[in-house]
Every structure is written in C-alpha cells, then in structure tokens.
C-alpha cells in the first residue's frame, strides 16, 4: 500500500503535522468544498436542465469565446511580458527596480477601470478623436476584449519572467560567449531553454486570470455582443425568467470550472516544477544589453506604456474633471472638482475604507494560511491534489461565488462583513498555489545545517526557509489584496448599506450610466494603488539597503 507521505518525520512533529493538516483541511472544507458542494447540489436540483443547457448554442458559443479570447490574450501577454522583462533585466541594477515598477503599473489599475479609460481615450468622441481625429472602431467586441486582457495581464507575465530571469545562472551563457557565440546565439542556447520551460506555468496563470475576468468583457464585450462565460452568466441573471436563468448560470459556472481544472491539469503535465513568482538565486545571468539595444528597448517600453497606460489614464482623469459628461474635456473652462468632492461628501470614502480593510484582511489571512499550508503539506505529495481543487473558485465568476456564499452562509452571516471576507478567501485561495509549490523547492541543506547546529524548529524556519519564502509571500499578499480590491460582483450580491464596498459603488455607477462618478472613483483608486506601488518600491529599496548595512556591521 502506498503511504500518504513520502518522508516520515519524527513522532512528535508528525502528530503536530497531522493536527495542522486536520485544521487546514477543515478550513478548506468550510470555505471551498462546502460552497462548491452547494453549487453542484443547486445545479443537480435543476435536473436535466443543466445538461441540456450545456449543449445549447449560446453556452457553446460563450465557452468558445472565453477560450479563444483568453488564449489569444495569453499569447499576447506572454510576448509583451517577456519583451519587457528582457529589456528591464538588461538595464543597470540601479534603474532596473524603477523601470520594473513602472512597467508593472497597468496591473495596479482595476481591469474594469482600465477598459473604461480606454473607451474614454480611443473611441469616437474620446480624447484621441478630440485631439487627433482618430479612434478605434474595434474597441467594443472581440479585439477590444483580447487587447485589454493582454494589457492587463502582461505585468503578471513580466513579474514571473523577471523573477525567472533572476534565477537563471550565468555560467552557460558566459561560456558560450567565451567560445565565440554571438549574444543572440548564446541567449538562445543557454537562456531560452529555461524561459521556454516556464512558459506553460506562466501561461496557465495568465489564462486563468483572463478566463475568469469580468470587468473587461462587461465594459467592452457586452456592448459589442461578444459574450464570454462571465458576462453570459451576468446577462442570464440580469432579467428574464428566474428559474431558467439560474439553471443557465449554474451550468455555465460548472462548465467554466471543468475547463479551468482541465487547463490546470494540462499545465501541470506539460509544465515544469519551476515556480513562477520567486526571485531568488545566486550568480544570476546578466543580459548586458548594449547601450543602443537598451535605448531601443526602453523606447519601446515607454511608447507602449504611453499608449496603454498614460493616455487612457489622462483621458480618465479629464472625464473625472469635466463638469458634465460630453462637454469638451480638454477645455479648462469645463473643469470642476465637484465629482471628487461629491465622492468625499458621500459614502464613497467609507466604501473605499471597507474595501481596503477587507482586502487587507483577506490578503493577510491567505498569506498566513499559505505559509502554514506550504509548511505542513510539503512532505505529503498526495495532498498536492488539493492544489488542483483550490484553483476552481478562482475561475468561477464572482457572481456565482457570491451566490454560493448566499446558499451556504447567509443564514448566519447575512449582511455582515464576514460573509464578504469568506467570499474573498474562497475566490482567491488558489493564489496560494505558487507559494505551496515553491516551498518544496527550498534547499533542504540549509535546514539540515541549522538543525545540526542546534536550532529549534522556529529558529530553523526563520533563518533557513523564510528568507526564501518572504518575497513570494509578499507577492501573494499583494496579488490577493489587488484582486480583492478590484472584484466587482461578489460584494454587490452580499452587501447591505452598512457593509458597502468600492465594488458596489463602481458597479452601481456603471450600471446607472454615471460616467463622471465612475471616472472619479476610477481615478482615485488608480492613483492610490499606483502611489502604493511606488511606496512599496521605495520601502523595499530602503529595507534592502538597511539589511545590507546591518550585514556589513554584523
């Protein structure tokens, strides 16, 4: 009989491990399995309707649209992310961090706001047509959705490729150069195989982000009759006969979950064990771009960011400043701060505070759970199956997660912050996956050395493991925080006036066609997030500098 664990540990530790596993499985069961079970039960209660619904042209078409658009967006995002990673990685160490932060900024703008900003920038009547008399007619529909999904997820690919480039050792590349290979040839011989091997795992992550997104297909897809599964569910629930639409929404959610699991399984089969978000390694490869190549590369990154970020954000700000939507936004006589002061006077400030606190609480809880879970199950290979299951809620649309939370927890937590908090935990639990996977790659030699020198368990973890895990735990915290802050539909289904969140304000303003409020909220939140990103960058630089200093002193 195969044992559940690979490397049995000392008796006392094993007992604690099993207690830990039991507690974590209980949390997992309550937050993930129970609501998913409620979803399946509710779907089964609809009888054969669910199966019939899966075979309808509308369902198949929405699934096709989701898969094709997400695949194309993933390919584009990977190309953009890799290109930017290579350019930024080729810069001097000093300017690298700043360029990396700048290239990451599109991730800090909510996808919904991003799509809205593009409309303000590039449609007929938008800023580009006012200033330069040109516009994009394709923004509403397939291409608009694909391009915006790619723009929004490219920083994720950049983050992963950049971290991966930092882990590649330089010996092989240097050897190739010494033996006369050109820079390009040496790159394709010594570096490209490493990059190629991690493309499936990064691609899988980006694909899952794309297929589960709601904001971009809502703003750009729906008006162009391009329905993805997330917006099809939203449309089904929008009106018409309730029993039929509910069945359709449930069956579409199940089909999306099945697709996501299939994608993860394929990714795990073709992917490598290399993790995607860590940035550790010794003697890293350095691309040493020539000055000319650096200039061209930086020029391309600047041009790209001006187009995808700066111009749309400027348009968004002008829309937020204009006293009435439709007036010439570039004329200062039409400007007012009333849209911003109205936000402060109203309940928006409180809603932002609620969202920030909820997102921070969810991020902190998942970071702690991730660290504990990665530690507890690292030796239990079979439990890695759990990792495939935890991604499911991430791919199920927020509206359906909201519904499962109502089905499961409403009787106890109706109208409380806690039910929204539980929804965030369930939806973003999957983001722990890289952390759990990475723990298995942390070299065991350091742990053994610490133990040989008499360090206790806590001290061993702190000195031999945590330095490897800290940056990835930080990334996990940030990803959950951003995702929770930007979700649109879950809290809209779960809130009451006392627990209003940013999502409720934004979605209501959008649904009511209140453009200037949407723009003002979008501008405010994007500015806050970008300022946060810059502060994190400054903070981490200071922290690194002070830790280097203390190393020297020590």
């Amino acid at each position: 009989m195969t044992r559940l664990w690979q490397s049995p540990r000392m008796g006392g530790h094993r007992v604690w491990s099993w207690i830990g596993i039991g507690v974590l499985l209980a949390i997992f069961g309550i937050i993930i399995l129970w609501p998913l079970g409620e979803l399946v039960t509710a779907a089964l209660a609809q009888g054969l309707g669910v199966v019939r619904e899966l075979a309808t042209t509308e369902t198949v078409s929405a699934l096709e649209n989701s898969v094709i658009a997400s695949l194309l967006a993933t390919i584009l995002a990977l190309a953009i992310g890799l290109g930017m990673a290579l350019v930024v990685f080729g810069l001097s160490e000093r300017s690298r961090t700043w360029w990396f932060t700048i290239a990451m900024l599109p991730l800090f703008i909510p996808p919904f706001v991003d799509a809205f900003a593009w409309l303000e920038a590039y449609t007929q009547g938008g800023l580009s047509s006012q200033l330069m008399h040109w516009s994009f007619s394709w923004l509403y529909g397939f291409w608009g959705v694909v391009i915006l999904l790619a723009v929004h997820t490219a920083p994720l690919a950049l983050l992963s490729f950049y971290a991966a480039l930092g882990r590649i050792r330089g010996h092989a590349y240097n050897a190739a150069r010494i033996f006369g290979a050109t820079g390009t040839r040496a790159f394709f011989t010594a570096v490209w195989p490493h990059i190629r091997s991690i493309i499936p795992s990064i691609g899988g992550l980006v694909f899952i982000f794309c297929i589960g997104d709601f904001g971009i297909p809502l703003v750009l897809g729906l008006p162009g009759h391009f329905l993805m599964v997330t917006t099809d569910i939203y449309q089904d629930l929008s009106y018409a006969a309730i029993p039929g639409s509910f069945t359709q929404a449930l069956s579409l959610s199940l089909s999306l979950a099945i697709f996501a699991v299939a994608a993860i399984v394929i990714q795990r089969i073709v992917g490598t064990q290399e993790t995607t978000l860590a940035a550790v390694g010794a003697h890293p490869w350095s691309s040493n771009l020539s000055s000319r190549a650096s200039k061209i590369g930086v020029g391309a990154v600047v041009g790209y960011l001006l187009f995808v970020l700066v111009f749309p954000f400027l348009s968004l700000m002008l829309t937020a400043l204009v006293r009435a939507y439709g007036l010439v936004a570039t004329a200062p006589r039409n400007w007012t701060l009333a849209n911003f002061t109205a936000l402060i006077r109203g309940s928006v400030g409180l809603a932002i505070l609620h969202s920030v606190l909820l997102a921070a609480a969810a991020a902190t809880a998942l970071a702690i759970l991730g660290v504990v879970l990665s530690e507890v199950i690292r030796n239990y290979v079979r439990l890695a199956i759990v990792q495939s299951v935890i991604w499911i809620p991430y791919t199920v649309p927020g509206s359906v997660i909201g519904i499962t939370m109502i089905l499961t927890f409403n009787r106890w937590f109706y109208g409380t912050f806690f039910i929204i908090f539980l929804a965030y935990l369930a939806k973003f639990w999957g983001l722990m996956d890289p952390l759990i996977a990475f723990r298995r790659d942390v070299p065991k030699s350091l742990e053994r050395a610490a133990r040989i020198f008499g360090a206790k368990a806590g001290r061993t973890y702190w000195t031999a493991v945590w330095p490897w895990m800290s940056s990835l735990t930080g990334s996990l915290w940030l990803l959950v925080f951003i995702n929770a802050l930007y979700e649109l539909t879950m809290s809209s289904l779960l809130y009451t006036p006392r627990t209003e969140t940013l999502a409720v304000v934004v979605l209501n303003a959008q649904q009511q066609g209140n453009v200037t409020t949407t723009a003002a909220v979008g501008t405010l939140i994007a500015l806050l997030m970008m300022a946060g990103a810059v502060l994190i960058n400054v903070g981490s630089r200071r922290l690194r500098a002070s830790s280097k200093e203390s190393e020297v002193v020590g």
Binding site: L237, Y325, L407, Q511
Partner: protein
C-alpha cells in the same frame, strides 16, 4: 523594542478583525435608546442616491420604520433574490425592479404577496400584474447629441431615413428589459421590417439604455433609442443630450413593486400605500421619474405615449429575442 512592535502588530490585527467582522453589529447603546422600530428591507433597482432619498422620505412619513435599502441593477437584485430563495428565503420585504419582465415568474414562484396597495384601483391595466403595481414609469424615446449637425428626428420612422445612416444606437433586449418592451411593441405596430430598415441604415445595438445614453452624450453616435430618465439625467447635469418624444408615441415601461409573501408585514404595506399616495408620487417626480398616477410635469402636454401589453410581450419573449438577434447580431 521588538516586543513593543509585536504588541502593536497584534493590536493592529485585532483592530482590523474587529472592524472587519464586527462593524455591522448594531451598537448596544443604539439598541437600548430607541423604541423598537419596524424594520423594512427593500431590494430596489434604483440609483444609490435615489434609494437614499426614498428612504429618508419614507422614514419621515413613518418614523416608526427603520428602512434598509439595498440598491443595484436589476440583474444584481434578481441574482440576490434567486440565491436567497434557494438558500431558504428572501430577506427583503419589498422588491422594486426597473421593468416588469421578471415579475410574472416571481409571482409564479409564489414569491409575491397578492396585496393591492391603496389608490391603485384606477391604475391602467398594463401598469399592474399579479403581485405587482408600477408606482413610476420609464418611457422609451429618441435621444440626440445637441452638437450634431443633423436635423432632429421627430418620429420612430424618421430613424430609417438615409440622413441618419450609421448614427443610431439602441439597447439590446437580451440585456435590457425596457428595450425588450420597446422592441416588442414597435415590432407589433411597425412590424419587423422597421428593425430591418434600422439595421440597413447602420443602426447598432449595444447593451443597456445607459450605454446608449453615454455614447450619445460623448458624441460617439448622434442619435439613440433610450429612456427619458437617462437623457434627463444627462441633460440636468449639463451634458449635450436632448429628448425627442416621438410623435408616433413613446413606449412606456412600468417599474414594478411587490411585497415578498413570506415577509408581508404592516410596514411593507404602509410603504406600498405611501408609494402610490400623493406624497409618494411627488417623491418620484422630485427624483426625476414619471409618476404613475396624475399628470406628470416631466412629460410634455399632449405627448402620445403607448402602454404595451407586457403579458403579451413576455409570452413572445423568445421570438422577439431571436428575431432581434438575427437582425442585429448574426
């Protein structure tokens, strides 16, 4: 120092948890200070601001009422109702939607009480149905960008003229219930050939009537088929949007309200009665909605308005949606 930091972190974490998990609990002082109030939970497809206004007005009318107003789009409200029903019961006492397309199925599910509010006996028969009555109305009208160089159209038929080629936008009945009413009614009176002509004239269907309003205000399109309230909101804010009341008749979409059968209490009935009273009807008018009872100041005198038969439209829903899809989407 480190211990202090740890204590501060723990206190911070505890504070965070208290704020996150405990903020919605009613304070003891509040619970003790007041007489017990009748709580009334309303799920309403209204703007947040209008929901707050309605709450204030009603609480002033009935000081014994403690209103919890949950606002959102019709879709969000219906999703909530469906999920709560499946979870054992809807929390709301009253449901208010922006169009009557879902009321029939809510009634069939026996979710709505059969209470008839005072003052609604003389309400037009198309403005009520089983378990619901409409206290205010929307009108499907033509809207236009005030800076456009084209002549202002005066009727639905004008929109098929070549002069408006590629300048017209309308909603999608698969997404918008009020648009379903307009498409259903005009396809009965003008025939499906009217929509074929619109499509041939380059008319584009988008999503909601609000999307149409936004695009017309921005000048993306010069002409739109949308709701009077959408155009009125833009117009009152100073946006360059104007309303045309088509001379061949604006198409009415009633906004229904009903009491949840399981939560049918006295305060819910007082609220419904108030909605149809003079004070309630004035409240709708102040918020920019057309009152269902009495002369509305928001609709010009002698305007032709048509009240579609919603029961008939809902019976033909699938045909209407399929025909529309064939013309504008496929």
């Amino acid at each position: 120092m480190q211990r202090h930091r740890k204590s501060a972190a723990l206190l911070g974490a505890a504070g965070l948890l208290m704020v996150v998990c405990g903020a919605s609990a009613p304070s003891a002082a509040k619970a003790q200070s007041a007489f017990p109030k009748q709580s009334l939970t309303i799920y309403a497809a209204l703007t947040t601001a209008n929901g707050a206004t309605l709450t204030q007005d009603f609480e002033r009318y009935d000081p014994n009422a403690n209103v919890t107003m949950v606002t959102g789009g019709t879709g969000t409200i219906l999703s909530r109702v469906a999920a709560e029903q499946a979870a054992g019961g809807v929390h709301a006492n009253v449901i208010m939607l922006a169009d009557p397309t879902s009321m029939a199925s809510l009634s069939q599910e026996k979710l709505l009480a059969s209470y008839v509010p005072k003052g609604t006996k003389n309400l037009a028969k198309n403005l009520k149905g089983p378990g619901w009555e409409a206290p205010y109305l929307f009108n499907n009208v033509i809207i236009y960008h005030k800076g456009m160089s084209l002549p202002i159209p005066t009727s639905w038929k004008d929109l098929t003229k070549p002069i408006y080629k590629n300048e017209i936008e309308l909603g999608n009945p698969s997404y918008s219930g009020t648009t379903l009413g307009m498409v259903g009614y005009l396809s009965q009176t003008l025939g499906w050939k009217y929509f074929h002509q619109l499509e041939s004239n380059g008319a584009v269907s988008v999503a909601s009537t609000n999307t149409v309003g936004v695009d017309v205000a921005a000048g993306t399109k010069d002409i739109g088929i949308s709701l009077d309230v959408v155009a009125r909101n833009f117009e009152s804010a100073g946006s360059p949007v104007g309303i045309v009341w088509p001379k061949d008749g604006a198409v009415v979409a009633p906004a229904p309200v009903g009491i949840v059968a399981k939560n049918n209490n006295a305060t819910a009935r007082i609220f419904l009665n108030w909605l149809f009273s003079k004070a309630g009807q004035n409240a709708w008018q102040r918020m920019g909605y057309q009152r269902a009872i009495g002369q509305s100041l928001l609709v010009p005198a002698h305007t032709k308005v048509d009240n579609p038969n919603w029961t008939k439209i809902m019976a033909q829903e699938t045909t209407i949606l399929n025909n529309f899809q064939k013309i504008f989407v496929q």
